[in-house]
């Protein structure tokens, strides 16, 4: 294993450690309501953060001794050694448009954009066909959930239809 993967591993274990420290800090500075009784709201968070800190320290020691994590396999054949950050960023970026669009433009727009972006990143290159599939998918989902199952979805630009 090379240096780079050790750095990644350490960053991961380090963030667990930081998470534990954040919990300690938050718990120590917490406003405790006066009527909390003998067993207040702080004991359990202290236990959890202590546990998390111990475990992350353990993992850091393991990593330094050369015991690295095994990336999980996928249902899609082989995994690659290095992360493909370009595809990853396109997918993550597309996902981030969803919360921005869903209430402003409505479900159908948000869903179409997300579907299109993700399928593009996963290698669907025929843009017109792709757009059409995205739109049809979103319309079917919208109408089957709102009309069929009575689940409320933001209508957005479809208001009144």
């Amino acid at each position: 294993m090379n240096n780079k993967s050790i750095k990644g591993e350490l960053a991961f274990a380090g963030s667990l450690l930081i998470l534990g420290l954040i919990v300690v800090f938050d718990t120590a500075t917490m406003l405790v309501p006066p009527a909390s009784g003998t067993i207040g709201p702080q004991i359990f968070p202290y236990l959890v953060s202590g546990f998390l800190i111990l475990v992350s320290l353990g993992i850091i020691i393991q990593i330094l001794r050369g015991n690295l994590g095994q990336p999980e396999g996928t249902e899609f054949g082989d995994t690659i050694e290095k992360t493909d950050f370009k595809t990853l960023l396109i997918v993550a970026g597309t996902m981030a448009t969803y919360p921005l669009l869903i209430e402003r433009a409505g479900f159908v727009v948000a869903s179409t954009v997300a579907f299109f972006g993700v399928s593009f990143a996963f290698g669907a290159k025929n843009t017109p066909k792709n757009l059409l599939v995205s739109l049809i998918f979103s319309l079917i989902v919208y109408f089957s959930f709102t009309r069929g199952l009575n689940v409320n979805l933001p209508s957005g630009i479809l208001r009144g239809i």
Binding site: V23, I39, V55, E75, F76, T79, V118, S119, L149
Partner: protein, 499 residues
């Protein structure tokens, strides 16, 4: 009222047109998500949770149970024809099943998997119908301290037995417990880990976490780490049928698989990984055709498949009788119960007897439907695998984002979903199992409640936590679960050094 009488009443409740329809939809959806890679029963049920606002509890729970069972039937199809075990429970099936498929015996492999699942599911559900009420009756006497100990055992077994590294499993648990802390503390009203955000006071939505860990995390992981190749499906020749010889070689593994799978589902042993592995090892040891193993031995499909199904039924026992989920899917079903204000646990069989018995009866019906649905129509299901990969992931992503949003109609939840999705990516990348996080998130607040209850009664005296016999036994088990693997490893190292 005796169990048999209750069960008959349950059948009467389940066999209405509405409930049968929901059961049928559930079996179809369950098989669908089982067949499709990248999407599982926990995710499917989480996505459908919004229907709990509009559908009656019995109908919704019947549908969820059918999805739960159905996903296992579908999962075996994928692992046999694609050699890509989706769920950890299908790894062993893929081992022999895929070899059988390569030798043109896909039909027999699929048949023994489906019939074995049916046999195991039916027997296991029957045991469930009798075991769960008696366990519940006994559990009424269980104290808060006992519950706390029981949850600690569940935490430890789920955390240490899943995945390759014990510490990484426990780290996953720790993150789940931390996420469970967010929001206002129900007992004192104190606000924890919200950093001034008003939305966070209600806590982090469990469904959002589950959906984004499984779907969004998976989509990110595949995008970043998988080779951009399709999958190769082995074409299936003939029908899903078994020869007389196949039957002869299958029925004993089915029964043994059931016997191994069910008890390991009842105790929190960390999912279907261990029972299916044990079943495979047993069949390999007992088989007269040892040399066939690794090249497509039917026993190696029949046993693990039965164990997998029996294990799933077994996991319903602690869920219904104690309110204790031991797998990710069971955890989502618990959330479904709670959204109807029904709390699974010892009192469930008293307060909501009709719903529980209808649910148990519908498990029998669902299992039968699944057999009828899977054997003759297996080709139809296989065709699903021809959905182009980009569209499959777009669909999963869109459903997941929608599921995260509709739980509370809140954009805040969507940002949480993206954050948790990144955690899901990192967990996969660094070999950290996901289920412990979910168990920690759901059981964490419950464990805290029981601990504080117990300590409040004793006014802070910690010895109250291990005061009862049951809690002492449970802590003993806990110590064994932690120590045994360490001793085992030490022994191995020692033996290697002396060589």
């Amino acid at each position: 009222m005796g169990n048999i009488e209750s069960l008959i009443n349950g059948f009467a409740g389940a066999l209405t047109l509405t409930n049968l329809t929901f059961g049928l939809i559930g079996t179809i959806l369950g098989t669908l998500v089982g067949v499709l890679p990248g999407i599982g029963p926990a995710l499917a049920i989480a996505l459908l949770l919004p229907i709990t606002y509009t559908v009656s509890p019995a109908s919704a729970l019947i549908m969820f149970a059918a999805i739960y069972y159905g996903a296992m039937y579908g999962g075996s199809t994928t692992s046999i024809l694609l050699n890509t075990p989706g769920e950890s429970g299908s790894v062993m099936t893929a081992l022999e099943g895929h070899q059988m498929a390569k030798r043109g015996r896909a039909g027999a492999a699929l048949a023994t998997a489906a019939i074995g699942s049916f046999v195991a599911g039916t027997i296991a559900t029957l045991i469930l119908a009798f075991a769960a009420p008696s366990l519940a009756g006994w559990a009424i006497a269980v104290t808060a301290a006992d519950y706390f100990a029981l949850m600690l055992v569940a935490f430890t077994t789920v955390g240490t037995l899943l995945g390759r590294s014990m510490l990484r499993g426990l780290a996953s648990l720790g993150v789940g417990l931390t996420l469970g802390l967010v929001g206002s503390d129900l007992q004192s009203g104190a606000v924890r880990l919200t950093f001034g955000n008003l939305h966070a006071i209600d806590g982090i939505e469990t469904v959002t976490v589950i959906v984004s860990l499984f779907a969004i995390g998976e989509a990110l992981y595949i995008a970043g780490r998988a080779k951009n190749t399709g999958w190769s499906i082995i074409p299936m020749k003939g029908k899903a049928l078994m020869t007389r010889q196949d039957w002869k070689r299958s029925w004993r593994p089915w029964l043994r698989g059931t016997a191994i799978g069910f008890p390991l589902g009842v105790i929190p042993a960390g999912g279907s990984e261990i029972p299916t592995f044990l079943s495979y090892a047993t069949e390999k040891k007992l088989s007269k055709n040892k040399d066939e193993f690794g090249k497509g031995a039917i026993e190696g499909v029949a046993g693990p498949e039965a164990a997998n199904n029996a294990n799933a039924a077994g996991a319903l026992v602690p869920l219904l009788a104690l309110g204790l989920p031991t797998s990710a899917t069971a955890a989502v079903v618990l959330v479904a119960f709670q959204s109807y204000n029904i709390q699974p646990g010892p009192l469930l069989f008293v307060t909501n007897a009709d719903i529980v018995w209808t649910l148990i009866a519908s498990l029998f019906i669902g299992n039968t439907l699944l057999l009828l649905l899977n054997l003759p129509f297996v080709r139809v299901w296989v065709r699903l695998l021809k959905i182009p990969r980009p569209y499959l992931f777009s669909g999963i992503t869109c459903f997941a984002l929608m599921g995260a949003y509709v739980a509370n109609n809140a954009i805040f939840d969507l940002w949480i979903a993206l954050g948790v999705g990144i955690i899901g990516f990192a967990f996969r990348r660094f070999g950290v199992p996901i289920t412990p996080l979910i168990i920690g998130l759901i059981l964490g607040p419950m464990a805290e409640l029981q601990m504080r209850r117990s300590l409040q009664i004793s006014s802070g005296d910690v010895s109250a936590l291990y005061g009862t016999t049951l809690s002492k036994v449970l802590y003993l088990i806990l110590i064994m679960v932690v120590i045994a693997p360490l001793v085992w490893n030490f022994k191995k190292k020692f033996a290697n050094k002396n060589k």
